[in-house]
Structures are given as structure tokens and as C-alpha cells.
């Protein structure tokens, strides 16, 4: 127990120091480095949010791009009328509400049906929005005019990523988190144990979706204009899923570990060899399933324990 407390304090101190250092990065680095970090934080926040719901419940969602895109569009529409912070808040709220409606009607689908449904959802929203813009608004894209600096975007996304990790860790400690994991273990048993599974699932699904919408809205500040195919790009859904599974969904910090190599890989490959990036992404999927079922987290924890246990034994022997 004391050991656990000490570990938790150590982790908290480490997180605090790391975040202060990271917050100072923009003042010492070039624009390029900053943009890589911005992409990294966005991916970390998305992967953590994905893992918070899908990792725990094993409902594999491919709707990340849908909520991300909704965030982008809410910002693109709202920033004309209200201030940017208000537009960001609106994105998070609308993402939450949409997920609430979607969740209530679909979370009784299991397994493959849910996967396909969420994939279809992105396409559906994409098509309907595109149609709406062309037919009703007679436009195909929207311009985004803001004077938000890159530094502000950087700090906002860093904060969003941190809050998502800490929040996901915190929820895992309380009743809601236990209920969520119980559903992932066996939904029928969870229901018999008195858990209102629908409520738990829908709330957590909506929480995770509101983070996705928020991240989309913040990233949209960097775009000069958006259209439906930029906003609802399915690559986001896949990349986020891979990042989370590569990192491992068992711990709150797992997806963040997975996002780092993936963002770097996409940064180096996607620009010059986009097709090879797609092949690498595909091989990642296969490698994870056959060789890394628990993700990098399990690997890290195993290494840590194999280093730690002999030390503990030595200390006990003394």
C-alpha cells in the first residue's frame, strides 16, 4: 500500500515536471518542431479518449473521425459568430450530445456490428453534411479566419492531452471506471450485478466523443479552410485505434506511448511515401495482434517488473 502511494506520488511529480517542460517547448523551438508536437498531442488526446471507452468495454469504435469532424465543422461555423473559446466549448458540447443520441440507439449492437456501424456513421455524416453544404448553402468549403497563435494552439492541445490522460486515470479509480471495466469483462454479468450498463456506456461514449470533437475544433484553428472530406477523413479513426492498441489500453498512459512512434512514422512517411505509410500501418495492425496483444504497455510493465522484483527481493533479504 505504501509502495503504491509512493509510486502514485512519483508518477504525479514526474507528470508535473514533464508537462511544465513541454509547456516551455514553443519558446525554444522552430515552427516545424511545434507542429509535430501539436499533431502528437492531438493524437494522444484522441487515442486516450478512444481507449477510455473502447479499450475498457471492447466496443471497437471507428467513429473517431465522425466526432473529430463534427468538432471541426462546429468551429468553422461558430467562429464567425462567437469568440474562439466559446466555439471550442460548443464543439465539445455538440460532440457530447451527438454521441448521446448515437449511443442510445446503437450501443446494444455488439462486436462486428458495432465496428461496421461506427464506420458507416462517419460516411453517413460526411455525405449528409456534404449534401447539405452543396444543396442548401451552395458552397463546398468554409474558410476559417482567426488570429489564434500557434503557441496558444500548442498549449491548448498539451492541456487537452494531459486532462484526458489524468481524467481517464481518475475515472478508472471511481465507480464509473469499475462499471465500465465490468462491462468489458462480461456485460451480462455486469447487468446482473446491478450496473445500469446502458447509462454507463452512453455516458462514457459521450465523454470520449466530446474530447474528440474538442481536439478536432482546436486543430481546425490551423486550417485555412475545411470541407467535408478534410473533416471526415477515416484515416483518423484508424490511426487513433492503432495508436491506442499499440500503446495498450490497460493503463491510462498506454495510448500516449503508442501515439509517439505512430506520429513520428506518419511524419516521416506520409509526406513523401503516403502509400508506404499505409502499408506500414497495415503491418502494425498485424504485428500488434500476433506479437503484442497487450501493447507496448505490457512490454514496459514486464521490463519494469523484471528489473524491480530482484531489487525488492534483495531489500527483503537485507
Amino acid at each position: 500500500m505504501l509502495e503504491a502511494l509512493r509510486n502514485a506520488r512519483f508518477a504525479a511529480a514526474l507528470t508535473a515536471i514533464a508537462s511544465v517542460l513541454l509547456a516551455l517547448v514553443p519558446f525554444f523551438s522552430s515552427g516545424y518542431i511545434m507542429s509535430v508536437f501539436i499533431l502528437l498531442y492531438a493524437n494522444i488526446a484522441l487515442a486516450t479518449a478512444w481507449s477510455f471507452f473502447s479499450g475498457a468495454t471492447r466496443y471497437i469504435s471507428l467513429a473517431t473521425a465522425a466526432f473529430f469532424g463534427i468538432g471541426i465543422y462546429v468551429l468553422a461555423v461558430a467562429h464567425v459568430y462567437v469568440t474562439v473559446p466559446l466555439a471550442l466549448a460548443a464543439a465539445a458540447v455538440i460532440g457530447f450530445l451527438v454521441a448521446l443520441v448515437v449511443g442510445l440507439s446503437t450501443l446494444r449492437l455488439r462486436g462486428v456490428y458495432f465496428v461496421v456501424f461506427t464506420f458507416g456513421l462517419t460516411e453517413l455524416v460526411h455525405q449528409v453534411l456534404n449534401w447539405w453544404e452543396v444543396k442548401i448553402n451552395h458552397t463546398v468549403s468554409r474558410f476559417i479566419f482567426t488570429d489564434v497563435s500557434n503557441i496558444a494552439i500548442y498549449e491548448t492541445l498539451l492541456f487537452a492531452a494531459l486532462i484526458t490522460i489524468v481524467g481517464s486515470w481518475y475515472v478508472n479509480q471511481i465507480r464509473l471506471g469499475y462499471a465500465l471495466r465490468a462491462i468489458g469483462e462480461d456485460e451480462t454479468v455486469a447487468r446482473h450485478a446491478g450496473i445500469n450498463t446502458t447509462r454507463v456506456k452512453v455516458i462514457c461514449f459521450a465523454l470520449s466523443a466530446s474530447v474528440m470533437a474538442l481536439v478536432g475544433a482546436v486543430l481546425a484553428l490551423r486550417y485555412p479552410y475545411v470541407d467535408a472530406s478534410i473533416a471526415f477523413n477515416n484515416t483518423w479513426s484508424f490511426q487513433v485505434l492503432i495508436a491506442a492498441l499499440l500503446g495498450g489500453t490497460g493503463r491510462a498512459w498506454g495510448p500516449a506511448i503508442g501515439a509517439i512512434p505512430l506520429v513520428l512514422l506518419s511524419e516521416f512517411l506520409a509526406g513523401t511515401f503516403p502509400h508506404h505509410f499505409s502499408i506500414a500501418l497495415g503491418l502494425c495492425f498485424v504485428v500488434i495482434v500476433y506479437f503484442l496483444p497487450g501493447g507496448l504497455t505490457r512490454l514496459v510493465l514486464r521490463l519494469y517488473h523484471s528489473w524491480r522484483l530482484p531489487q525488492v527481493k534483495k531489500a527483503e533479504a537485507l
Partner: protein
């Protein structure tokens, strides 16, 4: 009268959907493996036909002699060497499904990436049998009619094999209950591999037939995977014989919806129908509850 023509066109279109979905239903229904890289075999069948007519100036139908055996062999290998280890280690169908979804998505990315590298992302197409004919009072192109007839013939053959041969009886037994099928002496793994491979070969065949009238590129595969999956879920997983009917229903709804509402919304109408069926009848239209 225009409405009638739209209706006939919907049936022809739906026949094509049914054809594409037949192979997937063999893979998912019998072998219980949801192959999300299915559309890539469709695309490779289309590309083989394209190269056969454009590079070597042969009848594209001849390309089937190449693409069918290759697709069959590749799918057989996928089942034997990638799926069997997963089936062995999975504690239940849910866990297996999650693994299979990931691996076949991975294969989809790998195949599509390879296709983009070697065949480029350009839209391809060729003209073959594009003369219009009169069919029940509606004017349609011969190649579309050929694909429709191809769909009917393949579905009919499959029906005969499934209903009237020992092989068919074994496959149906596996569809209903793989464990019980094993208990009565059916080599479940061998027949599942066979069904999976045959499904892949059907994907290539449908790709060839459809490529005569719809242009395609290395990235169009996923759209057909999804459409096939919609049809399979509409028909009911494992309901091989209902697949063609479900495809035709989807085609008619899509054609009428596009005509009556807006052609730009066909995909939305597609997914709308799909979601409705998922929510109201998740076991499919042609299964007994």
C-alpha cells in the same frame, strides 16, 4: 414509365451488389471470418481484366482463368496461416472477431498500399459490350445485363451445390454449428478454408464482371467491402441463398431513393437502410427469428 426504368435499373444494380456480397457471405457465414480486405480481391479481379484487355488485347472474360485461381490460393493461404492461429488462441467468438477485424483491416491497408504503389491511384476503365439492349422495356447496356446474368448463374450454382451435394451439406452444417459439425465427422477446418478461398475467388469474379461498366481504382475496394457487408447483414449472416435477393432490394431502394430524393445522397440512403436493419432486425431479413 421513367419510374419503371429506374426500378429495372435498380434490380440490375442490386444484382451486382448481390454478386459482390455472395463471396463475403461464404467467408463470413460459413468460415466465420469477417474479411475486411475482401474488396481488395474485387479490385484485383477488376485490374486483371483491365490489363487483359488493355495490354494484351484479349477478351476480359479470359482474365478469370488467371484471377480466380490466384484469389482462391491467396485466400486459402490467409485462412490457413493467419486465421487458424487466431482461431486456436481465441477464448470466444467476441475475442476472435476483434482480432480478425484488426488483422483483416491490416491486410486491407497492406493490399491497398501495394496496389497504389504498383498500379497507381488513377481511375481505370475500359469499354466492353457497351451496346444498349432492350430489357423488359427498359434500355440497359449489355455489360450490365451480363453482370446481372452472371450473378444469377453464380447464385443458382451455389444454391445447387449447397442444397444437393455432400459438400453443400457439410458447409451448411458448419454454418449452423461448427462444433456439432465437427462431432459428426466433418473436417470443419478444411471445409472452412475451402469456403473462405471460394469467397475470395468470387470477389475476384465479381470484380471482373463489374469492371466492364464501372470505373475503378486501387482505392475503391473498401467501398465494395462495405456494400457487400451491408448486403450480408441485410440477408443474414450465412444465408447465402438470400444474398442475391437482399442485394436486389438494396439496389432498388438506392435507385428509387436516388431518383425520388437526390442522387448525391445514395450512400446516405444506403447507410440509412443498413442502420435501420441493424437496429430493427440485426439477424437479417431472411432468417427465422
Amino acid at each position: 414509365m421513367v419510374l419503371f426504368e429506374v426500378f429495372i435499373n435498380g434490380i440490375i444494380l442490386g444484382g451486382m451488389y448481390g454478386l459482390i456480397a455472395l463471396g463475403l457471405n461464404l467467408q463470413y457465414g460459413v468460415a466465420r471470418i469477417l474479411n475486411l480486405s475482401y474488396g481488395e480481391f474485387f479490385v484485383s479481379g477488376a485490374f486483371t481484366a483491365f490489363f487483359t484487355i488493355m495490354l494484351w488485347q484479349y477478351n476480359p472474360l479470359l482474365s478469370l482463368f488467371v484471377s480466380l485461381p490466384i484469389a482462391f490460393a491467396v485466400n486459402w493461404l490467409i485462412y490457413q496461416y493467419l486465421m487458424i492461429p487466431l482461431i486456436r488462441r481465441a477464448p470466444d467468438q467476441d475475442a476472435l472477431d476483434a482480432d480478425v477485424v484488426l488483422v483483416t483491416f491490416g491486410l486491407f491497408f497492406v493490399f491497398q498500399g501495394l496496389a497504389l504503389v504498383y498500379w497507381s491511384g488513377d481511375l481505370r476503365g475500359y469499354t466492353f459490350l457497351s451496346t444498349p439492349v432492350n430489357f423488359l422495356g427498359a434500355t440497359i447496356a449489355t455489360n450490365r445485363l451480363l453482370a446481372f446474368l452472371g450473378a444469377c448463374v453464380i447464385a443458382g450454382l451455389l444454391f445447387l451445390v449447397l442444397r444437393h451435394t455432400r459438400l453443400g451439406a457439410a458447409l451448411r452444417a458448419i454454418t449452423i454449428d461448427p462444433v456439432a459439425a465437427g462431432l459428426v465427422g466433418i473436417d470443419v477446418r478444411r471445409y472452412s478454408a475451402l469456403a473462405f478461398a471460394a469467397g475470395g475467388a468470387l470477389a475476384a469474379a465479381s470484380g471482373m464482371l463489374v469492371s466492364t461498366f464501372i470505373s475503378f481504382s486501387a482505392t475503391t475496394g473498401v467501398a465494395y467491402t462495405l456494400k457487400a457487408l451491408i448486403v450480408v447483414i441485410m440477408a443474414g449472416v450465412g444465408r447465402v441463398t438470400g444474398t442475391l435477393a437482399a442485394g436486389i432490394l438494396l439496389g432498388v431502394v438506392e435507385a428509387l431513393g436516388g431518383y425520388l430524393i437526390d442522387p448525391a445522397l445514395t450512400i446516405a440512403i444506403n447507410f440509412g437502410l443498413f442502420m435501420l436493419i441493424l437496429l430493427l432486425r440485426p439477424t437479417g431479413l431472411f432468417t427465422r427469428a
